[in-house]
């Protein structure tokens, strides 16, 4: 890595402490996930009945679970899945919602009415209930989770960007862009969107927290990641039966979820300050 590429994040971190801290926490998890095979002391799915349910010790700092798997290694490998959930669970709703919201807000009229009614239908159901229903139809698994997220999550992004577009579409620089003979696509995506997107980017960071918790919840319910893959939500679910005898089985993956979620929250806060967006 070039030394120069670190300078900007460091400078921003000093000026916006929340952003710096969030970036640090998320970055740490990202590095752990990236180098999981090197960092994790054990194979996360290797079972060894002879060392089942051992409390934290120098050999196993986070203890072992009921199948004798190393909890530390499982938490580190779990970061891969959970970061993937946070990323893919946000990016699809973000893209779909932003495009639909922009088009709807820019054209208005019938297009807008139709989009907004579809949006109302999605909003009429409780978020998690609708998601679980979609996953139940598609069958359990991560792919179903992402599809369900995309189908349900886009509404927040669509509403957010539409509100911004409605404000900006009459702006002077949009009139000026029209006076140059630019078409609606160019005006929407080259001129409107870059000016309207800041709020959505900030929201996507705080949304990552919710998606992460949703992913954990869905996995906890047995509809997301399937055992024996290491994922924090699954680990919490597996440890539930042992909470009184082996607290480490639920506590450490739980803490992992909390820290990553906190990291995203701080990032959202810092980005909000930086881009001048208040939620």
């Amino acid at each position: 890595m070039r030394a120069g590429s670190l300078r900007l994040p460091l400078r921003l971190g000093r000026r916006y402490p929340a952003f710096g801290l969030g970036l640090g926490v998320v970055g740490l998890w990202l590095l752990l996930a990236l180098f999981a095979p090197l960092v994790a002391p054990f194979d996360p799915i290797l079972q060894d009945g002879t060392i089942a349910l051992q409390p934290p010790s120098p050999a196993h700092p986070f203890g072992t679970d009921n199948f004798g798997r190393d909890v530390l290694s499982r938490v580190i490998w779990g970061a891969r899945i959970d970061l993937q959930i946070a990323f893919l669970g946000v990016i699809f709703p973000f893209l779909i919602g932003t495009v639909l919201g922009t088009v709807s807000g820019y054209f208005g009229g019938l297009v807008d009415t139709v989009f907004m009614r579809i949006l109302d239908v999605v909003l009429a159901f409780p978020f998690l209930v609708l998601m679980l229903a979609i996953i139940a139809i598609l069958g359990p698994g991560l792919a179903s989770f992402y599809i369900a997220m995309a189908m349900v999550g886009w509404v927040s992004y669509a509403r957010l960007i539409r509100a911004q577009v409605l404000v900006l579409r009459g702006a002077d620089f949009i009139v000026a862009a029209k006076s140059l003979g630019f078409g609606p696509l160019r005006i929407m995506f080259r001129h409107l969107l870059p000016n309207a997107i800041a709020g959505s980017i900030v929201f996507s960071m705080s949304d990552a927290v919710l998606v992460l918790l949703n992913g954990a919840a869905v996995s906890y319910l047995g509809l997301g990641v399937q055992p024996p893959v290491a994922e924090w939500g699954v680990m919490v679910a597996e440890g539930q039966g042992f909470i009184t005898t082996a607290w480490w089985m639920t506590t450490f993956p739980g803490l992992a979820i909390v820290t990553l979620a906190l990291g995203f929250s701080l990032l959202a806060d810092g980005l909000g300050d930086m881009l001048g967006v208040r939620e």
């Binding site: 000026a176 006076s179 003979g181």
Partner: protein, 324 residues
């Protein structure tokens, strides 16, 4: 004058039942600068937005007349064809450059965008041409400045940049809506000189909208004076400024500080009263409630524009044969 580049005939712009522009006609020749003067709300901005077919909302529409450009009638052209002409045939420069430039796009990119779309240049050629255009409008160190964002420019430089953006589409006609109103006086003079230089260099025809007769006097070849949605007098600049025929034009000229004004120590003359709003147009001549020469005819009959002493005047009692 040879065949005009642009001919506007009886152009009418309405918001529902209200006429904002009520049947105006004018011609614009190749390389000519036409000044459109009038008070706020006289319809000059609406008239020019109508030329571009960029009216501010769906409620405001062109409801009559023709805008002839070459073989096209812009008033009747489908939106898709109109879009092809916008920027290329008719360019527009706005009053407030701070809000009419895209705040999150580099100046060079904003100019290059028009070059790529209308002249089909590739990215590199468009960037080079954008720097060239910035140099043409008098931005120092254009190669570096092209990488700046609008907030890094001063007011005068932003207006130069906006002119460069408009020129990027290589328009034959430039509509400049109060291009110097937001600028201080020294910068104002520079921008006006720039417009004159561009007219020389490119044969650009310009419609210059202003409420400032001083600006008009410095730049225009011909003047059209608007009042309450109509053109009350139009003709050559020198004729009109030296000897206005319409009482409103005379009033406007007298409002200017300077030798024709009240003189040092005296209050500046004003035109008594307010211009009428679009919903409450007086019957007959729209200027009659404020006109010192109004007669019974003026209260009853709308004066038709007619040729008089080499110009077109819409007045029952023009100031002919009088020494002002």
């Amino acid at each position: 004058m040879s065949a005009p580049l642009l001919s506007v005939r009886d152009l009418r712009v309405s918001a529902g039942p209200l006429d904002l522009v009520d049947g105006i006609s004018f011609d614009l020749g190749q390389g000519e600068i036409l000044g459109l003067v009038g008070e706020s709300g006289s319809g000059k901005t609406m008239a020019c937005r109508a030329l571009m077919r960029l009216l501010p909302s769906r409620q405001v529409a062109v409801t009559g007349g023709r805008i002839l450009l070459g073989d096209d009638d812009l008033a009747a052209l489908p939106e898709a064809d109109m879009r092809r002409l916008r920027g290329h045939a008719l360019g527009m420069v706005f009053q407030n450059p701070a809000s009419h430039l895209d705040p999150v796009m580099r100046i060079g990119d904003q100019i290059a965008e028009g070059l790529r779309l209308h002249r089909g240049l590739d990215r590199k050629a468009a960037w080079a041409a954008a720097i060239d255009l910035l140099a043409q409008v008098g931005i120092p160190d254009p190669a570096r400045r092209a990488r700046n964002y609008p907030h890094e420019f001063s007011g005068g430089m932003r207006q130069r940049a906006m002119i460069a953006v408009a020129l990027s589409c290589d328009p034959g006609i430039l509509i400049a809506d109060e291009p110097t109103t937001a600028l201080d006086v020294t910068v104002q003079a520079q921008i006006l000189r720039l417009l004159l230089a561009l007219r020389e260099a490119r044969g650009l025809a310009i419609v210059l909208i202003s409420h400032d007769l001083g600006v008009i006097a410095q730049t225009c070849d011909r003047i059209a004076v608007m009042y309450a949605g109509r053109i009350v007098e139009q003709g050559a600049k020198t004729d009109i400024l030296r000897r206005p025929l319409h009482p409103y034009t005379q009033g406007l000229i007298r409002c200017q500080p300077g030798e024709d004004g009240g003189g040092p120590g005296l209050p500046l003359p004003t035109i008594a009263g307010q211009p009428p709003s679009a919903g409450e147009m007086p019957a007959g001549c729209r200027f009659h409630p404020r006109c010192p020469r109004a007669s019974e005819t003026c209260r009853r009959e709308m004066p038709a524009p007619h040729a008089l002493e080499g110009r077109i005047v819409a007045c029952h009692h023009p100031l002919t044969g009088e020494v002002p």
